[in-house]
């Protein structure tokens, strides 16, 4: 059931120097299989540090990360095989593009895995279709793409390795709503068609509410809350204390409720709100 288990993990940057900085403090939780998990927290709460542990880019100062029940650092020499199984899209991944064509760039990961030409071509095509890059985009230089397209190309580069766990660090940061939706839809398509676990890091409550089933809330290097989406969002006051708040639409429903409108409060997406509202006003239409 549990794909990744994080056990009492702590991490200290530049340990033993005057610049020492504790970024994670005794963090424990699980990432479930076949599930989209959201990690949310304000800037500097340790989200990026945390996700870089999932694929072994950073090694916990203490504690363990288990993938399918096995410590990923059991054999440090084989850490690169972990990186193929847990695909990490770093923050602002568009800055990692380097090849002459988008196609070649997406193929970089699969090539490192030592796959056959046919297999690589097949995977490039598939992941490009997930994120909505067209055949002609694939032939372009990555430096000629728009910001949103670059981001999608970079994400496709990780998807092409077909990781069992896809981890994305703030995949929608700095994008317009349309760009955001394309990316999240792509992620959803990947999750559905491969059955992989997906972890999305974000600080937008609205995105989290729309796509994630499980949510982990980070605050000041620790896990502040973890649980199902509705379990988290019904604790609105606590979330506000951490400085995060609830999705805009949930807030709206709550305000309506306070005004005496008879409407459910556990509404987290615009679609659900639309349904509830049209039910409410159904007769009047």
């Amino acid at each position: 059931m549990s794909k990744i288990t994080v056990e009492n993990v702590s991490y200290v940057y530049s340990g033993g120097t005057p610049f020492e900085m504790a970024a994670l403090n005794d963090v424990s939780f699980e990432i479930k299989e076949n599930c989209i998990t959201g990690i949310i927290g304000h800037t500097g709460s340790g989200k990026s540090t945390l996700v870089q542990m999932f694929n072994g880019l950073l090694r916990p100062s203490s504690g363990r990360i288990l993938l399918d029940g096995r410590d990923i650092w059991e054999n440090p020499k084989e850490i690169s095989s972990i990186r193929y199984r847990v695909g990490l899209v770093m923050q602002y991944p568009e800055y990692q593009l380097f090849e002459e064509t988008v196609e070649a760039d997406i193929a970089f990961g699969p090539k490192n895995m030592g796959l056959s030409e046919d297999e690589i071509a097949e995977r490039v095509r598939e992941s490009a279709s997930f994120v909505g890059l067209s055949e002609s985009d694939l032939k372009k230089s990555p430096f000629d793409l728009s910001g949103g397209q670059k981001r999608r190309a970079a994400i496709a580069g990780i998807m092409a390795m077909r990781p069992e766990v896809l981890v994305l660090d703030e995949p929608s940061a700095g994008l317009d709503p349309a760009g955001k939706n394309t990316i999240f839809d792509g992620i959803k398509k990947y999750a559905e068609s491969t059955g992989s676990a997906v972890v999305i890091v974000s600080h937008s409550m609205d995105d989290m509410a729309k796509y994630c089933e499980d949510i982990i809330v980070m605050s000041h290097s620790r896990v502040a809350m973890k649980g199902k989406r509705n379990e988290i969002f019904c604790r609105g006051d606590e979330l506000e204390e951490i400085g995060l708040g609830v999705p805009q639409i949930t807030l709206l429903m709550r305000l309506l409720c306070e005004q005496g409108v008879n409407i459910s409060q556990d509404i987290y997406t615009v679609d659900d709100a639309e349904k509830a509202l049209s039910e409410l006003f159904g007769g009047a239409r």
Binding site: S14, T17, F19, Q52, N55, L57, S80, R83, Y84, G87, L88, V89, M90, P93, Y95, Q96, L97, F98, F108, G109, N112, M113, F143, G157, I158, M161
Partner: protein
């Protein structure tokens, strides 16, 4: 890694840290000259004492100072050995004669003197110019000191600005390199295994994005500066105006006395002279 940005700068609040960088540059140069003037036991003793005083006044831990000396220990031993074996003195100073090897007292004196000179020089310059002065302060001080050169059309301000910008972006670029390397590692790039040519090739996915973003950043910075009407040094005033205080004059006074003392000791003190 971020510490690279500050070079060897050691943050503290000593008197030395608060001196005007221009004064520190002048004193630093003066100190090097003085260490070359030393000629006999007494003047070298004074030099040694002055180096110790500098360490105390600047409140830099001895451990850190020793680290910077460790870097040149090999050169020092090498010059010392050369001096011991190659210095020729008068016949009565010969203390060891074996085959073709002749060792004179003079050689031993020279070896010790030169070692003391190199160590003091390193301590002096690193305390004045690196441990207690940030690179940015240093460029600022240099720009002011070299200001007269603008009259013979040397673009002093532009050079200083270039240096400041370069220094400012060192940490940014280091951070960026780390990020890009992580990103490519996440895609299975391997920077540590394989033959040299293989590892060099593995750097391409790092270097290309790094250059692209360095150029992009340079362009953006230039635009941002132009938008704020930057047009070089002409008529430009400063945010942090360097001001000399009584402390700086005192420091200049001390270094003058120190220089005079060394010259006097060279003239009047007895004993072996280099």
């Amino acid at each position: 890694m971020k510490s690279v940005a500050f070079g060897q700068y050691y943050p503290s609040n000593s008197v030395m840290h608060r001196l005007d960088p221009r004064v520190k540059i002048v004193i630093g140069i003066f100190y090097i000259v003085a260490s070359f003037l030393c000629k006999n036991v007494l003047s070298f003793a004074l030099l040694t004492v002055s180096a110790l005083v500098l360490i105390l006044v600047s409140k830099i831990p001895v451990k850190i100072v020793l680290k910077s000396i460790k870097a040149i220990i090999f050169i020092m031993i090498f010059t010392a050995i050369l001096n011991i074996f190659w210095t020729k003195g008068p016949e009565e100073n010969l203390i060891l004669h074996w085959n073709f090897i002749n060792i004179y007292v003079d050689g031993i004196y020279n070896a010790v003197f030169i070692a003391v000179r190199i160590i003091s020089m390193i301590i002096g310059t690193s305390i004045f110019l690196t441990y207690t002065t940030t690179p940015i302060e240093l460029t600022d001080g240099l720009e002011r000191l070299l200001y007269p050169l603008t009259f013979i059309k040397v673009p002093v301000h532009e050079f200083a600005m270039m240096m400041t910008i370069a220094l400012r972006f060192i940490p940014t670029i280091i951070e960026e390199t780390e990020k890009i390397m992580s990103a490519q590692k996440a895609r299975g790039a391997d920077f540590t295994n394989g033959s040299l040519s293989k590892r060099a090739k593995a750097l391409i996915p790092v270097l290309i994005p790094l250059f692209v973003s360095a150029f992009r950043r340079a362009g953006e910075l230039a635009t941002a500066m132009t938008c704020r009407c930057y047009r070089g040094g002409n008529g430009r005033t400063r945010l942090k105006v360097l001001k000399t205080t009584y402390r700086d004059y005192l420091a200049l006074f001390f270094i003058a006395v120190f220089g005079a003392a060394i010259v006097l000791l060279n003239i009047y003190a007895p004993g072996y002279t280099m």
